[in-house]
Assembly symmetry: C2
Homo-oligomer: 338 residues x 2
């Protein structure tokens, strides 16, 4: 049988309220009593029951994670686990636990959100991907339940979010290429309904126009997806066009390492080299291929960390908190594996 606060109270010869106050270090208890009670707590090896505490406090001191992502992505892209460790680091420091649930379907994500909210087993939720018209976001807003989102959502009012400055990242990547003398630079984007896709394109566009270079429609591939296949496909189209007289680009800015790998694969297949390729995420797999290329490290760990920080700030009702954080990116040169 586990020791309870009553046992401590009895042994120490005080009431349970006193013990409770000692635990929370209330100023209303005399040092003398505190010392005595603490000694008993030590002796009996007493530890408060977190659940009883939660019930009395109406707060579980737990936050829930919703990984609304396909298994495939989860496994290939270390982004998620990195963000999760970031979350864990912040929550641990602040006395919160973290709960997670994985569900493949989008419907499943909503189910989990509903469960989390209705059962009151978490104090707040972190969404790991923001989709357009995300049903989870709508649901959480409607229920006035604290949550934060990794990745800027469509509607930012009333939501806490963290993200990179994606515009800045591609701006810089593109600018760097231009500084190295590249003029004909292609761009591969992500799905149109992700804000991140638009931002990355805009950054590229800005850098190009600032320097007076044209955005060649034949070299910009928007509304794509973050896959290797898409990367290969675009590259093959570029190559085909070049056979019909178009000039090959000297550099390609992509929106994801997978895309970049696809591009490299197609280049290899067609025996083309000397095109600089850039990606996003600094995925370790990018280390295991033969071309050197540039990747944008998004600092996933920090994204998780700040998502937790925002959320916990909100839960604890702190005032004057920021509504979002922009986490800086670093541009890394990935050396070839061999």
């Amino acid at each position: 049988m586990k020791i309870t606060i009553n046992d401590v109270a009895k042994v120490a010869g005080v009431s349970t309220s006193t013990v409770s106050r000692v635990i929370s270090d209330s100023p209303r208890i005399s040092e003398e009593t505190k010392r005595r009670v603490r000694k008993v707590i030590e002796e009996l090896n007493y530890h408060p029951n977190a659940i009883a505490r939660s019930l009395a406090n109406k707060s579980s001191k737990t936050i829930g994670l919703i990984l609304n992502t396909e298994a495939e992505t989860l496994v290939r892209n270390p982004f998620f686990i990195q963000a999760m460790t970031g979350v864990s680091q912040y929550t641990q420091k602040n006395g919160y636990n973290v709960m997670f649930a994985y569900n493949k379907s989008e419907a499943g994500d909503l189910d989990i959100a509903v469960w989390y909210v209705n059962s009151r087993c978490v104090d707040g939720i972190i969404l790991f991907t923001s989709r357009t018209n995300d049903k989870c976001i709508d649901f959480l807003k409607k229920n006035d339940f604290p949550f934060s989102v990794i990745g800027r959502p469509d509607q930012t009012e009333g939501v806490l979010w963290v993200d990179n400055d994606n515009f800045q990242a591609t701006y810089q990547v593109t600018n760097d290429l231009i500084m190295k003398g590249h003029q004909r630079i292609a761009f591969l984007g992500g799905p149109r309904d992700h804000n991140v896709s638009r931002d990355r394109f805009e950054g590229y566009k800005k850098a190009m126009t600032v320097h007076g270079y044209a955005i060649d429609k034949e070299l910009t591939f928007l509304d794509g997806n973050f896959s290797e296949e898409f990367g290969s496909e675009c590259m093959l189209r570029i190559i085909t066009a070049s056979k019909k007289g178009a000039e090959l680009p000297t550099a390609i800015v992509t929106s994801d390492d997978m895309q970049a790998l696809g591009v490299l694969k197609a280049m290899r297949k067609k025996n083309i080299s000397n095109i600089a390729v850039t990606g996003f995420n600094n995925t370790p797999i990018s280390l295991y291929q033969n071309e050197s290329f540039t990747s944008v490290d998004v600092n996933a760990n920090k994204l998780g960390f700040y998502a937790a920080k925002l959320l916990i700030g909100k839960i604890e009702g702190k005032k004057n908190l920021p509504t979002h954080y922009i986490v800086p990116t670093n541009i890394v040169e990935v050396e070839p594996f061999y």
Copy 2:
């Protein structure tokens, strides 16, 4: 203000006990009453408070994960996230939540275990790596707290565990190589204090001896680690030896994909090819390199799934449950990326 069981009782004109029994579908309540109460539950959109329930039941319906692993490994090896999703799949089906905490240091792992146990916020724990003399295991055993372990621990009595048949895996991998005509086969092992290392070596040894091939001391590297560096290092030693007259192996069995990549890297550097290499884990990164090789898929998802199954069986006091599961491995041929 949230709806409670009392509100439902009042509206339905019954006592709270009756509502509670309707929720748990007790046979002692008449169908008539059940119907009426359920209708009210629906109308009021009532959902039981999980925490109050936990307190009354003395069970949080939550299990805790302890990821006692370095961040680097966590990120590079999708094993962990795969196992986590496996755990989540089983627990969701059975009405359990999962809590996780990440902590870099080994000391931290123990802290988390202590917190989980003392605060009673989880009903059981899954350890994601079994080390020799694992302090967490000792602590959990001493406190008689339910837990299961991924990876067979040193002392199996009184512990629930899941693992692959590592002996069988390397036996088969080695045997396959022999069937293809290889006779001179090197072996790279993992850290001596991991059971997995010993098992994998024994499988290799058995296959070799069954076929009457010698185990060449110069070609077996035990007590290594699961890194690329170790792989490269061993391969370079093999190559150096060959320059002094030793015969090169025609195949190399390694204990990890990272090791295998290291081997391939060294081969490439020294311009050697035509040596078959095998690894473990079917890591996606293995897809992004140029040699085809063989990897053993350990079915991490299933390992997590069964770890959860064993644990929940124990928590719920089921009788005649197995003490461990052996999850089959599949041998996969990884095609070169390009």
